[in-house]
Symmetry: C2
């Protein structure tokens, strides 16, 4: 059984494809099921038969954005939920469970596994890393991150061409990007700069790690506008002030209690307009587009997402459990990567922070350590199939597995 | 002399490349100059020698976004401006002038030509169409439009995969697109739908042509949320209510007196949040990214942008003047296009409206007539050159032509 959880990425379906491809290599695997909408699908016994999907569609999954199995942010709360999951597993003889997701999802997988052990039900649980936030501990990076960063670096470089044509020392171009608690994504926009061209756009990167200081930012903008025709700012949605308050916060919180953010770019734009007379502020907010841009995905990322899916199955069949697949970078000068495993308990709810020493002294740009880390991850372009000018994505049949249990109220 | 004006597009530099390539085929052309920042560069005698650029860079121009010569929204106001332009033309023996732009730019070209004629200075002026707005009369469509639409249709289809995974009958996903007075761009997002799948996203397209009716839109959203897991809305920035007031208007206006817009998506999102309990609203605003996304440009569009540049030079050398190059679609079932010419005076400040009969009765979707019109324009993908994961764009040397006149105060 494989399920997807949390926010989708441009390459999370590649991990599903990797799981299916590898699982069907093993005689001991009788069926490959997908749970619709993560743990919700297990609770409600909404399972699909992935082995019956056409090879064509599974192949297309590798470059299909979103989460083809559906996803959820449902948090298993009560004991009855956990009991129900084991009941469904038992009813369908599920012995391998692969959960693709971020911190919260790995926590869920860990709890399910511990319960199975407590009840003496033989089950191997392997987590598969996925998050554009790149904030999972123990893995060098997480599948999904590089494609978001490649898309944003491409977009920044393209917007720079436009801004360069329009600006006359007055244009302030703001791109608001995702990144709730860590600046990994915003930092990645630095890859739009050419090597050894520190003055290339983005000129200012505002990270959640560096408290927002209005006077300093205004000074930075004025300095850039003196030097350049325009000032391009990449701002993380999770920008906070010195007191830890979000620059723009919405009262709403998601099911895990995280604040849902948005509007840091607008707030910043208002501050700049009000304080720099004559400035022309333009704001772009790619929103969800930045996590599903398969047409601009990193081939390295897509390949690695497939790889971690395969590795999870191999590990489970080799007898591993309660682990998440991790990516380990080789020591060589040229980029290499291999998979390893780390205990789920180490990943669950852990956060990998953007190292402070990878941010330059100016607080608004990234140094060579970050660039050396991030650059290899975005290499390579994927070749999508187009029909009448628009990419064609996988559409699964989603042939339902017969329900054998009474309904369960979520 | 060639100049660029108005907002850049993903393919406007292809037209510059077309002008240069064609001009150098003709013995009668001694020099090929570019004016920096449109007419501003002529006024200030800021001219560059385009023939001295490397062939490599000119070739790369074809897929470089922005406006490589710089652009402007400067409106020639006083007689002294026009006199100065002729003075610069005379000083550098400019006999052919190609101005790439939209309505306002063609108006400027027309006025310059008329003044030259009045003064007996032999000058041939040919306009080259460019605008993502697709609102120039007499031409079937305008270079730049299709690439914006292809990018947005691709983005909508990708976001739909993401929304489909996340939505549970509650998700309202809004994409705010450009389009001040006409809905050409928003309408183009309809190309994200598969043929004969009218229920595919985008579910609602809100056009400036159809006055915003809050009750109807809320009803439409509720209806879609009953049927689908999410409701994707594409809204034009220029959406107006029944009284002609912009849904979200900013006090600022540009140099031509047009209101600068933004925020229709946010306003719409607030209305939906406030009126549909439990709805989760997500807003994307690609902003400038939608007019410079060369990585997702239409090959048809890029080729045609090059073609109109070539055609302009051919026409001028054949003795034509005071015309703009137009694109004429063939009558055949399969898409063909050839260039023609139309008087500048017919284009200047004219507007081609999105035909009302191409919008379905429901007011929020496009019918087969629009799809038949727009679909062929987005066919084909361009192959960019990538270096370390990011596209590489042309960088002109911009070797300055020696100034021979006294400075001029703009």
């Amino acid at each position: 059984m494989v399920g997807q959880s949390g926010g989708p990425t441009a390459v999370v379906n590649a991990s599903v494809a990797g799981v299916i491809a590898e699982a069907l290599n093993h005689e001991c695997v009788e069926e490959v099921y997908g749970s619709l909408n993560g743990v919700l699908g297990i609770l409600q016994e909404d399972l699909i038969d992935l082995a019956s999907e056409s090879q064509q569609q599974i192949r297309a999954l590798k470059h299909t954005p979103g989460a083809a199995l559906g996803t959820c942010r449902y948090k298993l709360k009560k004991q009855a939920d956990f009991d129900r999951i084991l009941e469904v597993f038992k009813a369908h003889n599920i012995r391998y469970f692969f959960y693709i997701g971020g911190n919260d999802s790995q926590d869920t997988a860990d709890k399910i596994s511990k319960l199975a052990q407590a009840q003496g039900y033989e089950l191997r649980v392997i987590g598969i890393p996925k998050t554009i936030d790149n904030d999972l501990p123990t893995t060098d990076h997480t599948p999904g991150y590089a494609s978001t960063v490649k898309y944003l670096a491409t977009t920044v470089r393209e917007m720079a061409c436009d801004n360069d044509a329009m600006g006359q020392g007055d244009l302030v171009s703001i791109v608001e990007v995702m990144g709730r608690s860590a600046g990994w994504i915003a930092a990645g926009a630095a890859l739009a700069k050419r090597r050894d061209h520190p003055h290339d756009p983005p000129h200012l990167i505002l990270l959640p790690e560096i408290p927002f200081n209005q006077e300093k930012v205004l000074e930075d903008v004025r300095r850039v506008l003196k030097r350049e025709k325009y000032c391009m700012i990449v701002v993380a949605e999770g920008l906070v002030d010195a007191d830890g308050n979000y620059l723009a916060a919405d009262a709403a919180t998601d099911a895990f209690g995280h604040a849902t953010l948005g509007g840091a770019g607008d707030t910043l734009g208002e501050i700049i307009s009000a304080n720099i007379p004559g400035s022309k502020v333009r704001i772009a907010r790619p929103g969800i587009a930045q996590r599903c841009a398969s047409h601009a995905a990193s081939k390295t990322d897509a390949d690695e997402a497939f790889l971690v899916g395969q590795a999870a199955v191999k590990a489970a069949i080799a007898g591993e459990t309660d682990k998440m697949v991790t990516l380990i970078r080789g020591e060589a000068d040229h980029y290499t990567v291999e998979t390893s495993l780390a205990p789920l308990s180490e990943i669950a709810n852990g956060i990998k922070k953007l190292p402070r020493e990878w941010i330059n002294e100016d607080g608004v740009s990234m140094n060579f350590q970050f660039l050396r880390y991030a650059q290899p991850l975005i290499v390579g372009e994927v070749a999508l199939t187009y029909d009448t000018g628009v990419p064609v994505f996988a559409r699964l049949d989603k042939s339902r597995v017969d329900k054998v249990l009474p309904a369960y109220e979520v």
